[in-house]
């Protein structure tokens, strides 16, 4: 018997939601939000190392998305599209903070970077907490590539397009980020 794979089924479901959304069906919009909100908040939170800023990013992304009703064209995966919007917004916030001289994610941010903060303790188990702390040590560009590929399931080619860099640069960043994470995590285990 013919059966759709999970990813094909998910893609069809997205296409149907987008089709309805473009025709003014706001329940479809709610459906899209409910379907991806947790993934997007997670992505933004790890990129920005700050949960409240992460929620602002996701809110901004959905405000813009609402305005695109009627003219939104889905050319790839919806999750990838929304993840790209979140990553762009997060990057702009990071740049703006850098310009204004405020603390940025690659700099010391004790409240966010503290792996024992109550917020993080409540959210992640020990292993994920270690990972989260290690991710924060990565340069922003590498962390973004790693998360968009491994967490949001985006292809290297799509990430390269989003970041306006070559696919080789993206693959290099991914490989380098993995190597560093691996050594950091192994270091934690050996301590």
């Amino acid at each position: 018997m013919f059966r759709l794979s999970e990813s094909s089924f998910s893609m069809l479901k997205d296409k149907r939601l987008v089709w309805k959304f473009n025709r003014g069906d706001l329940d479809a919009l709610r459906g899209i939000y409910e379907r991806y909100k947790d993934d997007l908040v997670t992505l933004a939170a790890v990129l920005l190392t700050d949960v409240s800023s992460a929620e602002d990013v996701v809110h901004d992304v959905f405000v813009s998305f609402i305005r695109s009703s009627g003219k939104f064209r889905l050319t790839g995966s919806l999750k990838g599209y929304l993840a790209t919007c979140v990553a762009n917004n997060a990057r702009n916030r990071n740049k703006a903070k850098r310009r204004s001289g405020g603390p940025v994610l690659d700099e010391a941010n004790p409240a966010a970077a503290d792996s024992t903060s109550p917020e993080r303790r409540a959210i992640f188990g020990e292993e994920l907490r270690q990972l989260s702390r290690a991710l924060e040590q990565l340069p922003y560009e590498q962390r973004e590539v790693l998360l968009l590929h491994s967490h949001s399931g985006m292809k290297f080619r799509a990430i390269a397009k989003q970041q306006s860099v070559s696919i080789n640069t993206v693959q290099g960043r991914y490989r380098y980020a993995l190597d560093k994470l691996r050594s950091m995590l192994d270091g934690e285990v050996k301590k």
Binding site: L26, V41, I66, R67, Q162, S166, I167
Partner: protein, 309 residues
């Protein structure tokens, strides 16, 4: 050592929950969109394309032409054959396309310049300060990246056993980075990119005619990038061939999106092609200037941006 799969699995398992506050904010915005329908387009009673076609005579005619072309699908775009034998581009592309591919196969090395031009919504253009010079031989690749007149970076991709050595030096950071990997530099190779475009010429949308480019008489073709890959219609590629040598003189990739600015588009221009140039013997030999430190540019930058405590 943890395998990459294990780390990927851990990253997939990272999961935060959106707060009730965020839920409320987004759902409130959605509800507002419901009571302010002018901000979102209402449901269409019919597909918008159909309405456009039936309303305007020009589009109706164009649509009819598209239908006719679709019916006789497989017909090449080019209508005639060059009567004097000189206008080879008027003959079926199946013939001269092979000639161009053969000419490209004979190329032992090539250098060219690549620039990025930003095109704003009012039509004005700005050429990026950053531009590249590519050097390509049959198995090696080098890219010199300039900021204005200043050489910022050199990247080499050269054979290394069964794989490829990637070596880069950053003059602005005083650093170098090197690693070996599988595969080749195929994504960058301008000759390979030319080959792929030539193979698509029988699907070209427009003949741009004759124009003098870089002092040479050239014939240009235009093709939508939607003809290859999952690309938008508005991505347009233009390629200009030397009428005499049949080798590309200028390649433009127009209408590409520009990150963060939806009204601005990006055009990449490759020109100043020099085929089989006489290059110094060490062009493809990676080097590291004395005193340069090892490190990925991302790390070097991040390290310098972190305030010293």
């Amino acid at each position: 050592m943890r395998p990459a799969d294990k780390i990927n699995e851990l990253i997939k398992n990272l999961k935060l929950k959106a707060s009730a506050d965020l839920d409320k904010r987004v759902h409130d915005d959605i509800s507002r969109a419901l009571v302010e329908p002018q901000k979102t387009n209402p449901a269409y009673s019919r597909p918008i394309v159909w309405r456009t076609i039936t309303k305007t005579r020009t589009v109706k005619f164009a649509a009819a032409a598209v239908v006719v072309l679709a019916v006789v699908g497989g017909m090449t775009f080019w209508p005639g054959r060059g009567s004097d034998g000189k206008k080879w581009w008027l003959a079926p592309s199946s013939a001269w396309g092979q000639e161009i591919l053969a000419a490209l196969d004979a190329v032992k090395g090539v250098t060219c310049r690549e620039q990025t031009v930003l095109v704003y919504s009012d039509g004005s253009e700005h050429t990026s300060m950053t531009w590249d010079i590519f050097y390509v031989s049959h198995d090696s690749y080098r890219r010199d990246i300039y900021d204005g007149d200043v050489l910022r970076e050199i990247q080499w991709y050269v054979p290394d056993g069964d794989g490829t050595l990637h070596h880069s030096i950053r003059f602005d950071l005083g650093s170098y980075y090197t690693h070996s990997g599988q595969g080749s530099f195929g994504n960058y190779d301008p000759v390979e990119r030319m080959r792929s475009k030539v193979r698509l010429l029988d699907k070209a949308d427009k003949l741009l005619g004759i124009e003098v480019v870089d002092g040479r008489e050239c014939v240009g073709f235009e093709i939508s990038a939607s003809k290859y890959g999952n690309n938008p219609e508005q991505w347009i590629d233009r390629i200009w061939f030397d009428v005499e040598t049949k080798l590309p003189v200028r390649i433009e990739q127009r209408g590409r999106s520009f990150t963060g600015q939806s009204e601005t588009t990006r055009t990449t221009v490759e020109d100043q092609f020099d085929y089989n140039p006489d290059l110094p013997a060490d062009t493809f030999v990676p080097r590291t200037p004395e005193g340069f430190v090892f490190g990925h540019p991302d790390d070097i930058r991040a390290g310098r941006e972190t305030p010293q405590k």
